[in-house]
Each structure stands twice: as C-alpha cells, then as structure tokens.
Symmetry: C2
Subunit: 611 residues, 2 copies
C-alpha cells in the first residue's frame, strides 16, 4: 500500500530528526521518542488527525497532547515532517531562547499545554474533550500520548474514571508501552493485558496493537473514531529506542543521547532518508462554536450592612451573578459544592457546572484543558485539599493559565472538624507560583467584587474563603481592585497598624473596639489582596504608626506576614506576625483563634506589648 509506504518513509524521516536534534543538543530523550514514532506518524499523517496547521487555534482542530512531555523531540520532529518546523529551527532544540524546550511547553506554537510532569496530560485532554462534547459542541477529537511509566500516577486513574463517567467518546489515549521507565522496567513491563484489563474495567474501549505496525496503527485510529459513548485507549506494544539497535529495548538509555559516533552508526542503520518528503495533515471541518455574547448588565449586589454571611456563600452567589458577563465561565468542584457553595452556580447554570468527584489533581488538569480551549474555569474545593493538586497548579504557571481557584474552609476558624480540614498552607502554596494572584475577602461584598476582579484578570487567581458567617462590612458600591487594600479603621493618632484579611480582619475590628475603650488607637487594614500586596498603604501605615502587626489564620511561613515583610523590605518598618504556630485541635472557632493567638484578645495583648 502506497499510504503505508509513505508513512513509513515519514517515520524514518522523523526518526532521523529525533536523532540528529538530540545529539546536537547533547541531552534529551531520543529513545522515549523513537518508541512512539510510528504511533504518532500514523496518527498525524494517516488521515485520522484533522488540524489546520496554519491556524493552530482553530476551534475545531483535533487536539494532540504529549502527556509524556519528554518525548518532545518526537513532537518537534513531527511538525518538521509536516513542514512547519525548519531543520534549522529543529537544531535549536533545548538551546536557551528556543521555543523547542526540553519538555513540550507552550513556547512552541503547536503545544496545547505545557507538560513534563508525568500523569497530567490525560486530565488536560479530558478538559479539551469535555469542552468539545458539552460546551462548544464541536466534532474535534483529543488524542493524548501516554507513557507506560506514568500509568503509576493516580491522576491517570482519576482521569480514566471521569472520562468514562462523562462518556467522552471523543477522547483517545495512545499508550506507548515501551516497557522501560527511567531506571528500569515498569511495574507491568510488556504485559499489555495488565493495562488492558485495568483500563477496560473502568469502562474504556481498549485495543491492543503492535505499535510499530503501521497497518495495525491506522486500523486502531479508524476504529477509535467510531466508538460511541466511551473513551478509547490504544495500547501499543513498542520498543524503546526502536530503529536504533544499539539502544533498542535496553535499560540505561533513558534521557540519554547518542554521541556523534553512535549517531553515525544509527543513521547508517536507518538507511536512506528522504529529507524532502512532507506529511500532509487532514483539515478539520470549518465549524466554530456558537459564542455566547457577554452581557454587561448583571444583577446588582444587595447585601445588608451588619448582617452576616459566609464569604464562601458569597463566592457561590458571585459565580452565578457574573456569569452573563463572563459567558466563558465553567465551574468545577470536587464533590463539596454544598460546602464551597459552587452549587449556587450549578443551580443557576447547570450546563456549565461539572462535578469532578473527589479527585483534585484531575480537576486542576481538566481546568487547564478547558483554559486551553478558551474557557474560564473556576475550580473549588476546601483550601486544604487544593494541596492535592499542587503539581498541576505548579505546571499551570507554564501554560499562562487563566484559571481561578477557590479554597474554602481556610484556617483554624473552621473549628470542630479539626486540622485535616483546615487550609493552613494554601497562601504559601499559591504565593509561590509565579504571577498567581492571591485574594482573601473578609465579607460578602468584597467577595462578590473580588470574584469579578478575578474573572476579569488574565492569569491564575486564588480566592480564599471562610467557613463561618462574617458580618458585612462594605457598601455594595465600593471597589476592590487587585493589589489594593482598605483602611477600615483609623484615628488621628494610631499607635499600631493591624493588617489582616478574612476572619482575622473581624478579630482586628474587635481589638480596635477593645483598645479604643482604653484610649489606644489602632489602624486596621483589610489586606484582601495578598499578592500583589498594597505596598503603598502599608508603607504609609508604617510611617505614621510604630509598627505593623499582621494577623493571619495560616502558618507564618509563606503567609501574609512574610508577604508584608517582603513588600516593606526597603523600609524600616517593624512587621510583627500573629499566625498559626501550634498544631491545631478540634474545638470552637473562638477557642482555636485564642489558642493560636490570632484572636481579638491576642491582638490586644500584642498591641499593648508593643506600645
């Protein structure tokens, strides 16, 4: 068959590119690329894959995600074989400034999302597939290249179970079973049945093929395209290093390149390469999603000053309220929507709410996939449990992700449920992510406003909410820009400034009243924007008082106190920290705030100690 011959010719060219580019770079993963070369050449140039290479952002392009991001030489070589990367550019692989990075990143124009931390690509693909089926309602398909080693990651099984649950028949996993991990054999080696049994048990359609037989490869993709109501896993037996006998199926060749001499031998073995042949990719049908028009006018905020409402509830209200203004919004929650109150959004816009069950890693990965398809994901669970998805959150910074995370039940003030449910490291976690914005509202009005600010901001935003109801402090007409703060109490002679956010702001207000009785004036600052933080206001407060006390329902390390210290590093303003330093217990919120010395009482004591 001419098609098979042509594909094999292309595969040979791709192998050539993989070998020369990695030897030139002196590092990289040629053997992990070679095992999947036939699988991917067959996919891209065999007719199944539909992609307009001149419009990578075409909403109906099939999506291709390399979960095994270290097979980047294969990815770049595929696009070289498609005529979209020059040989010259290919030789910049891994060089500083090149878009052809060591693991696939969005610096390269055909990458959907940056990968390289294993076990994340399938979740990203779930996001793009869910978007196609339920949101954009487009016929594009999503293909995810998976390594066998990474199947040990639990996140894969989170994705596998959820894809079946949502009957994503537009999702095809390509499992490259090359037997060898980084340091030796994988758990199942070449036992393909082990994978098939497990994946099929989760409700996927599975096919086991020889990953170096082009006929079987094409047949599998063709069949995969016709499966209904189930995602498909093509499980391929492959040889690591296939095509270069000196490294084929050999341990010790992971992440290792050939030297010049070895390269010469390998190229000899490859045989004649036609460097002029180019693969042709099928074009997608030119259909585009029906876009909802953003509507400027949305419901007004109407909270009564003095009444109380939990910020987590205001978060739910806000999501529902602002949706007409941000019609790309999608809301995900990990089986706690009645605690985070994302269920309020679900009630209003059920078609844009997706239940993720208790699987936070996959939830964060899916959000990245949705983001890559132009959606605006709001992702919520308990603040404590977002720690589960730290690796996915960390990776999102490398995809310029426009994702909003909301963590509820922050701090010891949740009370009786005890430490396992208390978010006490979440601010540190999100602050440590480049360009992530961290917001921490203290009342319903500021929550509503900040959720909207978050939606408007391009980039990652974390919103921290509180379990208990807190009094409404602000008028609905007030604004809460990112990077701002509010001076909520001040006198002519403030001796100390207290910066607080969330529940501790209310403790600071209690301290203010208490101290006022004794004639001691303190300035109280609502530091609702933790990152970026309002340096100007803090500096000013520090200038007119003796010191700043930062009070936070979070551990001191990486928290608000350290954010303030860093902001004021260039000024001689003493910054004192009241934070959670003891292992918390079950108990009443007020008992715990006292125990950790972040309560109104503790603030009063600290102020008196300092003056």
């Amino acid at each position: 068959m001419a098609q098979i011959e042509n594909l094999e010719k292309l595969a040979r060219l791709i192998r050539y590119y993989i070998l020369v580019s990695t030897t030139e770079a002196g590092s990289g993963h040629p053997t992990s690329s070679l095992s999947a070369t036939d699988l991917l050449a067959g996919l891209m140039f065999g007719g199944t894959f539909r992609f307009d290479a001149d419009e990578p952002g075409h909403p109906n392009n099939d999506r291709l995600i390399f979960s095994k991001g270290h097979a980047s030489p294969l990815f770049y070589s595929l696009w070289a074989a498609a005529g979209k990367v020059s040989e010259e550019e290919l030789m910049t692989y891994r060089k500083f400034g090149s878009p052809l990075e060591g693991h696939t990143t969005i610096a390269f124009r055909y990458v959907e999302a940056s990968t390289g931390s294993l076990g994340q690509g399938l979740s990203i693909g779930l996001g793009t597939a869910l978007n196609a089926k339920y949101i954009d309602k487009l016929p594009y398909r999503t293909y995810v290249l998976l390594g066998d080693s990474e199947m040990a990651e639990g996140s894969q099984w989170e994705a596998i179970q959820l894809a079946a649950h949502y009957q994503l028949d537009n999702l095809v996993g390509i499992l490259d079973v090359n037997r060898l991990g980084q340091r030796g054999e994988t758990m199942y080696g070449h036992d393909l049945e082990a994978y098939e049994k497990r994946i099929a048990a989760f409700g996927w359609e599975t096919m086991v093929i020889d990953g170096h037989n082009m006929d079987e490869i094409l047949g599998a993709y063709e069949k995969a395209a016709s499966v209904k109501k189930k995602p498909v896993m093509v499980i391929a037996r492959t040889i690591k290093g296939k095509g270069v006998s000196m490294v084929e199926d050999k341990n010790g060749w992971h992440g290792k390149t050939l030297d010049r001499e070895q390269l010469a031998l390998a190229l000899d073995e490859l045989g004649e390469i036609d460097r002029t042949v180019r693969g042709v990719i099928s074009k997608p049908e030119d259909v585009r999603p029906v876009e909802r028009e953003p509507r400027a006018a949305v419901e007004e905020i109407a909270y009564e000053a003095g009444k109380s409402l939990a910020t987590r509830k205001a978060y739910g209200n806000a999501l529902k309220r602002i949706f007409p203004r941000f019609p790309n919004m999608v809301v995900l929650d990990a089986e706690v929507s009645n605690s985070t109150y994302s269920q309020i959004f679900q009630g209003g816009h059920p078609e844009r709410f997706f239940e993720m069950y208790i699987a936070e890693q996959n939830m964060a990965g899916m959000a990245l996939g949705l983001h890559s398809r132009g959606k605006l994901p709001f992702v919520s669970t308990f603040a404590a449990f977002l720690s589960r998805a730290f690796d996915q959150i960390r990776m999102s910074q490398y995809s310029d992700a426009n994702i909003k995370f909301c963590g509820s039940h922050a701090g010891v003030s949740i009370g009786e449920d005890g430490p396992s449910q208390m978010g006490l490291e979440d601010i540190a976690m999100f602050r440590s992510v480049t360009n992530a914005v961290v917001l921490y509202p203290s009342d319903a009005v500021s929550t509503e406003k900040l959720v909207e600010e978050a939606a408007r901001h391009k980039g990652m935003v974390y919103i921290r909410t509180t379990r208990m109801a807190t009094p409404i402090l602000y008028n609905s007409s007030e604004n809460f820009p990112i990077g701002g703060s509010k001076v909520v109490r001040q006198s002519e002679k403030d001796v100390i400034a207290v910066a607080a956010a969330g529940v501790t702001l209310h403790e600071a207000l209690a301290a203010y009243e208490e101290l006022k009785k004794e004639g001691i004036g303190i300035r109280v600052i609502d530091l609702y924007s933790i990152k970026p933080v309002d340096t100007a206001t803090l500096r000013k407060a520090g200038g007119v008082t003796n010191a700043i006390i930062v009070v936070e329902d979070h551990h001191p390390e990486g928290g608000i106190g350290e954010a303030v210290r860093s902001a004021l590093a260039d000024y001689d303003i003493p910054v004192h920290s009241l934070a959670v330093t003891k292992i918390p217990r079950s108990g009443k919120p007020a008992e715990l705030l006292d125990f950790e010395e972040i309560s109104g009482n503790a603030i009063v004591t600290k102020v008196k100690e300092l003056i």
Copy 2:
C-alpha cells in the same frame, strides 16, 4: 448463633454511642459512622482482629486505619464498646482539648496515623503491611476502612496497584459502599460490581457482601485471612445512617447530627441498649521483631577538597553509609533512584529499599505507615514532584511524622530539561509545614553531615539537593548542626553579607572573588539550614555590613529570602532578595542563573548597586 447475637448487641450499643456523642457535640458525621458500624463491630469483636488494648504499641497488634477519618464517632464508640473509652470521655467528642477530635488524630491513643483528608489511609496501611511482610516479618494484619466517595482519589489506585505488586496478603481493605457522598450520589452509587471489577483488575482478591449482615461480614474476614499473595478488598453494600430510618439512605444528611428531639426518636427506634455489654478483642501472638542493633562506628567521609560531586550523589552515599547507625532506615523512591541517587543505598542495602514507581502520593502515605511502625523513612524524588504529595506531607505534620524527604534537581540550575522538572516551590512548601526542618547543602561533605543530622532529628526534615556537580568546600571534620550556618568568606571590612545555599553559594563565592579584585569585601554565609535559620549569625552579619543579600534558586515567595526577613524582623537590617522571578526556559545552567539574576554576575551587580 450466640456470637452473632452478641455482635448485633454490641453494634446496637455502638450506634447508641455514635448518636449520643454526635448530638452532644452538635457536629460530626453520624450517618457515615452508622453505615460502617456492623462492618467494624464484626471486625473488632468477631475474633479476626487481634489487638492488645493494654499495649497499643505492641508490634504484633493488627492495625486498623480509618481512611474515612470522618467516621471518627464510630472509631471512638468501638473503643468505648471495648471498655477502653468511658461514656464520660465519649461525650467530650470534638470539644477543645479532647483527644476525641472531629477526624481521627493521634491525640487518641488507638489511632495509627491522623486521617481526615480522604484517600490517604490505604497508603498508610500499605506502609504498615509492607513493614509486617518485608521488614519486621510479623504476622500482624492491617485493616483499612475506606469510604466509597474517596475511591475517586487517584492515590487510592496508586495504593491498590502497589499493594498487588508487593503481594501484600496481610492487607485488607473494607470498602463501605453507602452510596452517598457529601453532596449527593457517588459516581457508582450502589453498583458494587463497578468497584469489584476495577479492584479485581488490579490483582486484588475481592468479596462483595451485605455490610449489615453479620454472618456475611464474619465470613468475609475469615476468608480474607486465608488469601495468599494478594491483598483483599471486602466490598460491602451499606446504608448511610443505617439504624435510624429518618436519615437512612437519604441525601442531605452528610456531616449532620440529630437534634435532641430527633435523637430521642432515633434511640426509641434502636430499642433496648445494654450499656454494660463489652466487646472482647482477641489478643495477638506475643512475637516481636528482631531489632538490628545500631552500630556507632560507620565508614568515614572521604571527599577531596576542590573536587566536585553533586549533592544528590552525596545524599545517596550518605544513606548507604549511615544505615548501620540508624538500622530503622527504609528508603523509598519514585522511579528516579538513578537521579536522586537513592540507588546507592539500594545497592548496599537492597532489603531496605522499596521501589514506589511514579506515584508520589502513595509513597508519602506509605512513609507515614512505616513511621507509625517505628521505621525511619527516607523518601526521594525530584523536588518538583514532591509537590504531588503535598496533601500527604501536610497531613504528616498531624502524626508527628519522623519522615525525611529529599528533593533533587532543585531550581533552574538543572538546565535543559526545562521548568517542568525544576523544583522552585519546594522550600515554600516544606517551610509552611509546622515543625518541618528544611536543609539545603551546597557540597558533598555538608550533604553527608546533614543527612545524618536529619536521621538523628525527631521530626519531618526536607533535604534539597542539586543536579550538577559542585566543588567540595568543607573538611570532613566540620559539623553542620540543624539551625546553624557557616561563614565561608569574610574580611575585616565586609560591606555586604551574601546569604546563599546550594548552588547559589557557589555563585556567591564567584562574586566574592570578582569583588575582591576590585577591593570590595563581602561576607558569604552558607545558609544550609533554612528552617530553623541561624538568626544569630545573620544578625551579626547584618550588624557589621550594610545589608544582607539572599540569593536563592527558588521563587522569592516562601523561600530563603522570606525566611531571613522573618528571622530578622525585630532588627533593622535591610534584606535584599535575588530569586527566580521569571518563567524559566530550557538552557544551560549558567545561562539560566544569569537569566534569573541569581548568578555570580548578578550578585556582583547587586552588591555594587547597594554600596
């Protein structure tokens, strides 16, 4: 049968305790406790479970872990029914200071490890089971109570696959399929076959039973005890709220207690309770493990000054070297032992090395289980990928865990592999954990010494290592106490102090030489202990210079710079930060250090800017 009748009587008593203690507390999870009551009454008092309640630490006691930690009322009530918790103590449930916390914690003497973040208990149980089979070689069994909702967590499937891999036939999961999660039905509802198919596909022995039929329950445990070479999952169909018809199988009753009136009705329905009946637990065989004697004398460290070696390699050397001195050591690695160099330990002591494959969450959970059985786990992978286990690491602080984590490939200095592989948030992550120690050696000698300090320290320690080889700076006779630092360069007139650790220390030394040529003296401090940090030395350095520059291959937030600022908060010492603030790329290590302005050049520039 008298036994069945007696067990049913005990189950009734336990239900009574669950109901009265949660109503008294006013919060908690009675319905999630009631669904598992028969399963657990049958286990503890049915003869299978062997536990010496007077010696909870008996090394041959069977272990019982509540992965669904919110079923704590059941756990405490079981021990009340065993006569080990008084009715008075039971009524302190969730009160401040009571060991009977909202989710099971080690404050209660029969708890193996604190739980409450779902999806972690099975990994902990894997640790105790692995210990029994391969380390202590004892016949005790491990039982883990699992909720159906938490089966969505990928960590469960990591544990499931590894338990089968290690043929842990001493591990029994008890899956309480009560159909309802927190906010509604689980993914599979009462489809028990869905669970059975999936779990069996992973190589477990499975049994499906009626979780309220005592006969079936006892039969399952008996059978489970005789299964060989496979872990066992007892999959039980249960009713949430079983025994109280007003809440049975009803949505909206998760984490909700009965009020006094409802309680009265429920108790009526329960019928007569014999509050004098007490359950009897079988005693374990009094066998104890053969303990290895610690040996004081170990090999000497022998590194040649001036030569270079990667700290990650020194980590491997140290593990192997100190083992005779710390014979409780166990080393775990997530399929990268040839990168972290834990393989050096494996080479020397293969019986104490366990391959965890690429499944970091389960690895961290298993470490906690091993810790609970008196072992000293050293856990390694890339620093970046430890973020995957943040929730397990976070939870470990609530179990007083004596676990040592090592993250290799820290920072942008790894070079070409690109950002996905760079640990840039790991210091922030570990600093945010209460009482965790964070160490960051810069050469082979200090690594060796710090690994030993870590082993000696009781508590969680994080050791950060570097990919590239770095010159050996220290003499083997030097000591590196936790909380210390080293002034490695100083002159009579230092204008600036540069505090650095790991790779940036070498950059600081390069800057020192460069500046010296121009007659500018700087003090260079090796801040190998990030937490606790050496405040005294920093303060002294700040006192005799104009400022401190902290240089770190990590994001600024939560990193070394903020640690130093917090340490010096009470002193007027300017602390400047050079850290990773731009999204890194692939490139040569030196290019990246320059790009991020944390190189010797950047330090020179900063010093000149400040003087």
